[in-house]
């Protein structure tokens, strides 16, 4: 928009003489351009999408597509208060004794779903029914438990059925070969009673009696050989095993916080005794400990964990079924090895881990695990360990672990584990391979 000669003259005069008319002229200039936009649509478009970004726009089209899908989904999620609804209905169901579970039945069992129903049976006692199954690998579990707390003690009656179709077996001992990887299926049914007393909130003593019916057979996963094909005469394979067990245990839990000085101890012993025609009779002993030493205040800690499991057959005992031997390997024991990589009569396991906070919701860790399986105590070697090292990350929420990712390296290569909840090395739990999921 051009200005008239008079306007230009006035403006020049005003500027050169610093007359007060300069401001008026500016105003006048504005009037001339009234209705104008500060930028044209074309200029704005060019600034928003510069030429250099055009090829990338095509390359990243799938990214945009996923992104806009995520946006629409989350907008809808929030618009309909889905989070609040989820919390509301979860609480609604919980108050009515119904629980919903998402997750597997332990390491290597795949993702699953489950539900529980709890009935109040008077006082503080309740009766819980639980059922769950995992997809793809088809693990199944049904569990019934009656709990009756009395003061500082509680009495529990429980029974469980589990179908675990894809368990690993590589043979016995440290010399077992990775190439001898076999899979078997295990059906275990047990029932029992347990009594516990907690004289202090950090101290607990208990005893339990169980009856178990166990059976191992071929795995439906035909990609792997059956154990009886690779390991001839494997005790317990294809046989029904019926036994009873009596055990005692003690727990002392002195853990305070993730990065605080503390420790825990667990010790247990049990006697397994075959029933019916079985001549099986052996003792199991176990011990676990953990110590945490803070390094950087409230941000890191050095964690030491150790575990021992001994199996001692009594004179005249029949052969112990192979799957009842202690085993190590996997996310809760040796993280650089496959799940249940080593079976043996006895195990010794040590872990050193440095955990540190990288964000209120995330923890990083560097670990070193070593363990060995051995026949007799005199076979325990201070040199012949299976070792691995690695690192991992945890997603934390309100001080507890939501999810973990561990990457471990060992002489057999590397492996990674993605799992839910805290890393817990399950206690023996009597004559059964797995209690109600504790691993």
């Amino acid at each position: 928009m051009r200005r008239t000669f008079l306007e230009a003259l006035l403006c020049t005069l005003a500027v050169l003489t610093d007359l007060p008319g300069a401001a008026a002229q500016e105003q006048e200039r504005e009037i001339l351009v009234q209705g104008e936009r500060i930028v044209t649509e074309a200029e704005a478009h060019q600034a928003e999408h510069p030429a250099a970004s055009v090829p990338l726009r095509f390359i990243f089209y799938p990214f945009h597509l996923v992104n806009s899908g995520m946006e629409s989904g989350l907008v809808s999620f929030e618009k309909h208060n889905m989070r609040e609804r989820l919390n509301y209905y979860t609480e609604y169901l919980r108050q009515r004794g119904v629980g919903v579970m998402i997750g597997g039945l332990g390491e290597g069992t795949g993702i699953g779903l489950g539900g529980s129903y709890t009935i109040k049976t008077g006082g503080r006692s309740d009766l819980r029914f639980l059922g769950r199954a995992s997809f793809l690998r088809w693990y199944e579990e049904v569990d019934v438990r009656w709990t009756n707390p009395v003061g500082k003690a509680q009495f529990v009656l429980e029974g469980s059925y589990q179908w675990r179709p894809q368990e690993n077996f590589y043979g016995f001992g440290m010399e077992s070969q990775l190439t001898d990887h076999t899979k078997f299926a295990l059906r275990q049914t047990w029932t029992g009673a347990r009594g516990e007393i907690a004289p202090h909130r950090r101290l607990r003593f208990g005893g339990e009696y169980k009856l178990a019916w166990l059976y191992s057979t071929n795995s439906p996963n035909t990609q792997y050989a059956s154990p009886d094909v690779v390991f001839a005469g494997l005790p317990g394979f294809g046989q029904n095993v019926h036994l009873q067990s009596l055990g005692f245990y003690a727990d002392a839990d002195g853990l305070k916080g993730e990065y605080e000085l503390g420790g825990l101890l667990h010790a247990g012993a049990s006697l397994q005794d075959g029933i019916g025609d079985s001549t099986l009779k052996y003792f199991s002993y176990e011990g676990q400990m953990e110590g945490r030493l803070p390094i950087a205040r409230q941000r890191s800690a050095l964690v030491f964990q150790g575990a021992l499991e001994f199996t001692r057959p009594r004179g005249g005992s029949g052969a112990i079924p192979f799957y009842l031997y202690p085993h190590i390997g996997g996310e809760s024991t040796l993280r650089g090895y496959n799940l249940d990589r080593f079976y043996g009569q006895n195990i010794f396991l040590v872990t050193l881990e440095y955990r540190y906070k990288i964000h209120p919701d995330f923890q990083a860790l560097i670990f070193f695990d070593e363990g060995q399986v051995f026949g007799r105590t005199t076979d325990l070697s201070w040199l012949n360990w299976q070792r691995n090292y690695g690192f991992g990350f945890k997603v934390m929420s309100s001080g507890s672990t939501v999810m973990r990712m561990d990457f471990g390296w060992s002489s057999e290569g590397y492996t990674y584990h993605i799992s839910w909840g805290d890393r817990v090395h399950g206690a023996l739990g009597g004559p059964i391979r797995y209690g109600t999921y504790r691993r």
């Binding site: 008239t4 928003e48 946006e71 907008v75 208060n81 990288i358």
Partner: protein, 577 residues
């Protein structure tokens, strides 16, 4: 340009990683390799004080946004998008700066304290609306959301308000922050609702005949006296039995949902400028850093279709400003780190957890009424909102200077009155807040008005010694530079970047520099632009910095308009690219 400076705001832009970084470098080579300021063609921004974006349009569609998406996308996914890095590298500055390096008035922003002195009374008078009339307030609706319930009420004159409350554990905190920051944001130039602190007794609240209660599942049912009683039980009464609340006057117009800090509203033909390229949003980072408005996010913004049939853009919800935003990993994180801060997390990861954030050690809350709002650990460059905001990330030196110009315009007297507007019961709390606000304001002035040559309102004056360039030096006027040592370095070039005269250095506190006559010889002038202006020369002026160097320059463009034969000032721009 901020992204290449040594002291630059931390930004995701500066963190391309690995292979992505390599590809990125190749992709941006063409756009990033731009000529230096002295050699680039002169572009004078439009001489508009008003951006006419209030033309009548058809009613746009209401939209929704997701906060979860905004956190996830901005914290995690956007940095993975190569296109974003290329576009960022191509950024040539805010699109809506005018010839005088200011933001024109628009449906987004109205210049107030940034262009003229304002008293507290001016700010108060300018805020549209009024407090609810005393007398019974009819409760229309209860929204049981957030940390405390919110009531929609109607006063005796029929005006609607949203009544919000402080958390029981931190009385006065959120309501004071909201009141103070509403006034600050209004004086700065943003559209804000009328928010005021109110006191009432239980008997002042009455149920409307149609009042209803909407729970978290959005289920609606008539409200009962028992609901009201249970609601009041969740609030902390004052010693005299009254309650304190924050009343927010309902905004006029049809609600269209929040605006986002990136892109445009596609169904608003007036909204042609991408939001991340709007100076009032980019430069708001500096204002937000002053008041610790870390909760700047899409859902705290609002578009309204108002009388005149256009979309007006509002800023809402200042209840988490100052030290009030302590809900996620807070309170000490707020302002120092994003909720998910990649750089800080990486530092912790690499240092094996030994990296200790300064605020983890030194952060402390002096008064619960104020929360964690302090000046000791405040860094105007490294201040961060709760999660990355694209407009803030795109802030460059020009935008930061614009923001700092506004922040430093709040005088000590004004700040005192603002702190008093929080209506704290304890005078020492008011004094503490006032001190923190002044210290933070000065930290902003000390940094940005030192880094960028803070000259404004240039005029060309003929004197006995020749032509002079007069200006206002904001650093001198506001006490961020010493008068005795104030110096300016002046360089004159033609449109091609060729020096017209030797560089001169003038030591003066008179806020004027002389122009060499050679600089004003009429060279070959450019073709006039759409406003009839033909740039001919540019004068680059740099002020001295405290560390002995020179600040980023302000470029004053001289030229001719119409058929004039004498040069005049066509405009100026701070820290030109």
């Amino acid at each position: 340009m901020i992204r290449s400076g040594a002291n630059q705001p931390s930004s995701d832009n500066a963190k391309p990683r690995g292979l992505l970084a390599l590809i990125l470098l190749v992709c941006v080579a063409a756009t990033a390799a731009r000529p230096s300021s002295a050699g680039s063609p002169i572009v004078v921004r439009p001489p508009l004080r008003v951006d006419h974006d209030r033309r009548p349009i058809a009613l746009p569609k209401a939209t929704d946004v997701s906060e979860l998406y905004a956190i996830l996308y901005n914290s995690w996914f956007r940095p993975l998008n190569l296109e974003y890095h290329v576009v960022s590298a191509s950024d040539r500055g805010s699109l809506n700066a005018n010839a005088w390096d200011a933001v024109p008035d628009s449906s987004w922003f109205t210049n107030r304290i940034g262009i003229r002195p304002m008293s507290f009374e001016d700010a108060l008078a300018g805020l549209q609306g009024k407090s609810p009339e005393p007398g019974p307030w009819k409760i229309v609706r209860v929204r049981d959301e957030g940390y405390t319930p919110k009531l929609d009420i109607r006063d005796s004159s029929g005006n609607g308000y949203v009544l919000k409350f402080d958390l029981p554990g931190t009385p006065e905190r959120n309501s004071a922050a909201e009141r103070i920051c509403t006034l600050i944001m209004h004086a700065a130039g943003y559209n804000v609702p009328y928010n005021t602190i109110v006191y009432f007794r239980a008997r002042d609240l009455e149920l409307d005949k149609d009042s209803y209660y909407r729970d978290t599942l959005k289920r609606r049912r008539p409200m009962t006296p028992a609901d009201l009683e249970s609601l009041l039980k969740r609030l902390k009464a004052r010693p005299d039995g009254s309650y304190r609340g924050m009343a927010s006057l309902m905004l006029p117009g049809k609600v269209l949902g929040p605006f986002v800090y990136t892109g445009r509203r596609k169904d608003d033909p007036n909204d042609i400028i991408p939001h991340e390229l709007r100076r009032e949003l980019r430069g708001m980072r500096v204002i937000a850093s002053w008041i610790n408005h870390a909760d700047v996010k899409d859902i705290n913004a609002m578009d309204l279709f108002v009388q005149g049939d256009y979309v007006k853009h509002y800023m809402l919800d200042f209840g988490s400003t100052m030290g009030s935003g302590d809900f996620i990993h807070g309170p000490y994180r707020v302002g120092h780190e994003y909720i998910y801060d990649g750089a800080a997390t990486l530092r912790s990861l690499v240092s094996l957890g030994f990296y200790r954030r300064p605020w983890e050690v030194e952060g402390k809350i002096v008064y619960p009424e104020v929360g964690y709002y302090q000046a000791q650990l405040f860094d105007p460059v490294r201040w961060k909102p709760n999660y990355p905001n694209l407009a803030f990330l795109r802030m460059d030196d020009s935008d930061a200077y614009w923001g700092a110009k506004i922040v430093t315009a709040y005088t000590d007297q004004m700040v005192r009155r603002l702190a008093e507007a929080g209506d704290y019961s304890r005078p020492e709390v008011t004094r503490h807040l006032e001190g923190a606000m002044i210290s933070r304001r000065d930290a902003i002035g000390d940094y940005w008005l030192d880094r960028i040559t803070p000259l404004e309102e240039f005029t060309l004056v003929r004197s006995r010694s020749g032509l002079e360039l007069r200006f206002r030096d904001l650093a001198l006027e506001r006490g961020y530079a010493e008068a005795e040592s104030r110096s300016y370095r002046v360089q004159a070039t033609d449109t091609e970047g060729k020096e017209l005269a030797a560089v001169t250095v003038t030591r003066t506190d008179r806020q004027v520099v002389g122009l060499p006559s050679a600089a004003l010889q009429k060279p070959g002038i450019e073709q006039p632009d759409r406003f009839g202006r033909s740039p001919s020369q540019r004068i680059l002026i740099q002020s001295n910095r405290r560390d002995g160097g020179w600040a980023l320059p302000v470029e004053v463009v001289l030229g001719y308009t119409g058929g004039s034969s004498s040069p005049e000032i066509l405009g100026w721009y701070h820290a030109p690219k």
